[in-house]
């Protein structure tokens, strides 16, 4: 594949190949010299139209460990603020010959539009309410690393399902890998027809957590908390937050995940976020390995043979 625009359309085999490769590449991060020459001379541009630290830095570290050059553009500090359109921006960037363009945009489908207009590989680092494929891949990697195998496990995804690209990508990815999924949140935030993703919806946190092998807590966006779809921060925390009381509903072996950044005291209480079941920092570490694997896969796929030197 030339682009990674979403989990949708990826076969189980393609996903497993990325996870396997990430498993091999993770070792590089623990070496005294954390750099291999695999992508020497390649350039990776990250173009973020939305705030991000983790994802952007993770892509940059991944590219640098593989010896690619990185350029990072934050839309707030670019000519986008002067009114340049998305396509003009990327066409201009493309004229500088990047090999991979990593893009985050608040509009669903923006990376797909860009991919149709540029020659380089495009990676979706989050588009609107649509998809965040590398997050789902790193979540699956983290679970597989802990469990050995994924088939037959159950994961509960809790929070604002309606507006979550993390939830959507994870539902697609986990289903492809044979994991049962449940989604849970306030009725206003569970979209109608979510069952088409093969998940079991519930409005009861207890029902979602009992018997689950992992709870994936989604970030609740502050601006939405005060909006009409939410009961308010305190009530949300009491009804759908994971804290010392509600975490007891999970089986003792179950893991707690969060894509970050955490709203401490809303969807996760500090003692759970920093507790023994939490694999949140593993997720961050694995994110680098998974993004390395994605970059290697995309560049492997796009290069054609050059004449012998």
């Amino acid at each position: 594949v030339k682009h990674l625009l979403g989990i949708e359309g990826l076969s189980r085999e393609a996903i497993v190949e990325i996870l396997d490769l990430a498993g091999s590449l993770k070792e590089v991060l623990s070496r005294p010299i954390k750099k291999v020459p695999a992508l020497r001379g390649k350039s990776v541009v990250t173009l973020f139209f939305e705030a991000s630290t983790r994802t952007r830095v993770s892509f940059e570290v991944a590219a640098k460990v593989l010896s690619a050059d990185t350029t990072s553009i934050a839309a707030q500090a670019s000519s986008v603020t002067k009114g340049e359109t998305l396509l003009d921006t990327v066409r201009n960037l493309e004229a500088m010959r990047p090999d991979v363009l990593v893009i985050r945009h608040s509009a669903s489908g923006a990376p797909h539009l860009v991919a149709r207009h540029v020659g380089c590989s495009v990676v979706n680092a989050g588009d609107g309410f649509h998809e965040h494929p590398t997050q789902a891949l790193l979540d699956a990697f983290t679970l597989r690393e802990r469990w050995g195998k994924l088939e037959g496990k159950t994961v509960a995804i809790v929070g604002d399902i309606q507006h979550s690209r993390v939830a959507r990508s994870n539902l697609l990815c986990l289903r492809a890998l044979g994991v049962r999924t449940r989604v849970c949140g306030p009725p206003t935030l569970i979209p109608r027809g979510i069952e088409q993703y093969g998940c079991a919806p519930t409005f009861s946190l207890r029902e979602a957590l009992e018997g689950a092998d992992a709870a994936m807590m989604l970030r609740i966006q502050n601006e939405r908390l005060e909006g009409p779809l939410f009961p308010g921060a305190r009530e949300y925390a009491r009804t759908y937050g994971l804290d010392a009381r509600t975490v007891q509903w999970l089986p003792p072996h179950a893991l707690v995940m969060h894509p970050g950044p955490i709203n401490r005291g809303v969807e996760l209480s500090p003692e759970v976020a920093d507790g023994e079941r939490s694999v949140i920092l593993d997720q961050v570490e694995n994110g680098v390995a998974v993004r390395m694997a994605v970059l290697v896969k995309l560049l492997e796929a796009t290069q054609t043979e050059v004449p012998a030197r």
């Binding site: 396997d20 490769l21 498993g23 091999s24 590449l25 070792e27 590089v28 070496r31 005294p32 010299i33 750099k35 291999v36 020459p37 695999a38 992508l39 390649k42 593989l66 290697v296 560049l299 492997e300 290069q303 054609t304 043979e305 050059v306």
Partner: protein
């Protein structure tokens, strides 16, 4: 379809070569102390374990054993050639001031060895790096030579040498000259 042309080394020849190679490593290094054997994946995987077992039999001390995967160090990566799966590199001991013997099944152009050396040096600064191969088939494209050679085999440019091991599911150990496959 690629097919076998002739058997260059049969199981007995491989067994004898392995014993001799292990003895040579010990002789040159005056024992097995501080010795590390590192297999080049995946061709060297089995051979490195065989050599380590022989060294242990002779010296009563098992050398450190590791493996390197050269997938991230290839000079032809991303040139549209057949890219083998990248596997894990495992070096769980300090390389500094050790003698490291790189182990591979077949030595040909030397490009794999170059990549393996580069990978090794990212883990530390060995006192010396040596090269052990079961089969040297000539055809070098880089100034690299082996310190320990099991056998020299003339195969010709349009042919491959494949080393098969029972550990990998083969009926018997053998090194076979084959027509280059499609």
């Amino acid at each position: 379809m690629a097919r076998d042309i002739f058997v260059a080394l049969d199981a007995e020849a491989i067994e004898r070569a392995t014993r001799r190679l292990a003895a040579e490593v010990i002789e040159r290094n005056r024992g097995a102390e501080g010795l590390a054997l590192v297999g080049v994946r995946r061709g060297g995987d089995v051979l490195v374990r065989r050599i380590a077992a022989q060294v242990e039999k002779i010296e009563g001390r098992r050398p450190e054993v590791g493996s390197v995967d050269i997938g991230l160090y290839r000079d032809d990566a991303f040139r549209g050639l057949n890219a083998p799966k990248i596997g894990p590199t495992e070096i769980r001991f300090k390389l500094d001031d050790r003698v490291v013997v790189l182990v591979d099944d077949v030595l040909y152009t030397g490009r794999t060895v170059r990549a393996a050396i580069d990978c090794l040096l990212d883990f530390g600064r060995p006192r010396r790096v040596e090269l052990l191969v079961l089969v040297d088939r000539g055809g070098r494209e880089l100034p690299i030579r082996a310190d320990y050679v099991g056998a020299t085999v003339e195969a010709g440019p349009e042919r491959n040498i494949e080393v098969r091991w029972v550990e990998n599911g083969a009926v018997r150990d053998e090194a076979v000259v084959r027509e280059r496959g499609p």
